[in-house]
Symmetry: C2
Subunit: 233 residues, 2 copies
Amino acid sequence: MTLDTRLSWTDVRDQVRARILNRTYAPGDRLPRDEDIAQELGCARTTVHRAMQDLALSGLVERKRKGGTHVRADPVTRATFDIPITRREVEDRGAKYNYQLISREMEQTPRAVMARFGLQAPAQMLRVRALHLADNRPYILEDRWVDTTSTPEILKVDLAQHSANEWLVRNKPYSRVDVRFSAITAEGTTAEYLAAPLGSALFVIERTTWIGADPITTVQSVAAPGYQLVAQS
Amino acid sequence: MTLDTRLSWTDVRDQVRARILNRTYAPGDRLPRDEDIAQELGCARTTVHRAMQDLALSGLVERKRKGGTHVRADPVTRATFDIPITRREVEDRGAKYNYQLISREMEQTPRAVMARFGLQAPAQMLRVRALHLADNRPYILEDRWVDTTSTPEILKVDLAQHSANEWLVRNKPYSRVDVRFSAITAEGTTAEYLAAPLGSALFVIERTTWIGADPITTVQSVAAPGYQLVAQS
DNA sequence: AAGTGGTCTAGACCACGGA
DNA sequence: CCGTGGTCTAGACCACTTG
């Protein structure tokens, strides 16, 4: 008698993964063709394909047409992070959210901002600086540039009431995003607004978006001391 | 005449995404059932399913059985990062890689390490401190704890020759990983080893792995000043 | 109870890329 | 060239979740 339950693609994935973990398929090895695995385990090739797709996505194997499926010799750790609207992030922590507009002016983009957008020449953009608070304590200081050519509507928004962060996320879909993380030292007004000791280390998220080839916005979000970003399971 | 090329799932995805971007389907809206979209576009339901799966993965829509597919009202930015072996990371930048073992001793785990593993009681583990260099300049300082119960083989490895990082990644598969990022201030020996000015901000990656329920290793990797982590496209 | 997404199957054809 | 993964189809059944 064999089991009467059918094999699901997660079962197949787990079996193949187990074989990789226990070195039946060692790093660098080529795995059997999908069809052979399907026959061996008694399921359709599509099911094996679905399983392999998942293993490839998580970085455990590499697949190429004709080349077959190989166990990665240098596995990478692949981690995914969700960056929600700041208000949501604060509220999800059970804290009270507040927001303060610091400044809102048209300015010429400095070199650093041009670089983030990949622009050759400087442009006039709306610069918005604002502070997000959790339980009335500084949480994130954002320094944002909005391209008023692609997003003229931002000029009509009352940024003292609604954060540009929230308005943009809700109203301005993007087609491409660049995200990068780094660390900076608390200095000058940044330290003041965040109530951070001078010289303390601050976590920084830079996020730049485009719609097609047109810039929308770039923001440098500096978090208060102690901030930690955790990968999604 | 209609087009004679068949619709691929990426075509379907792009069409649906376009409708979300142009507000045909607005945030919070419920999309038509997969089957209706399939009929409208003239393809199989499976194809629509594949497209929707991708949109759900990227965080644009949410799907529930019976509940249908909804456009997310609060879109999240979802970013994926690849964390390769340090040697590879250095070499991929076109730099020369070097490695120095700093210390290697059995020690009792402090509170912070117990917390990362979720342990109730302290344990004896192998603590390995090492420096990775790029073009002979400090690149990453790692402070690692290895559970010699789950990974006794580590005791036979000559860690002066091969970094624990590399040996573990190549030889010790894990079933669960926790990754988190933060920022710390350069102090004491950390600053010395990284040749970083006292008080400068340093980017930190913490990575902890388990096999089943058993701890394998946890490492705090502190990067030299200027380090930046960029999301995968 | 019933609607909707999730999955499996079997078969066909396509497209990339190694030999 | 031709082997291998990638995709599409049509149909069936399952499983979750909401009304």
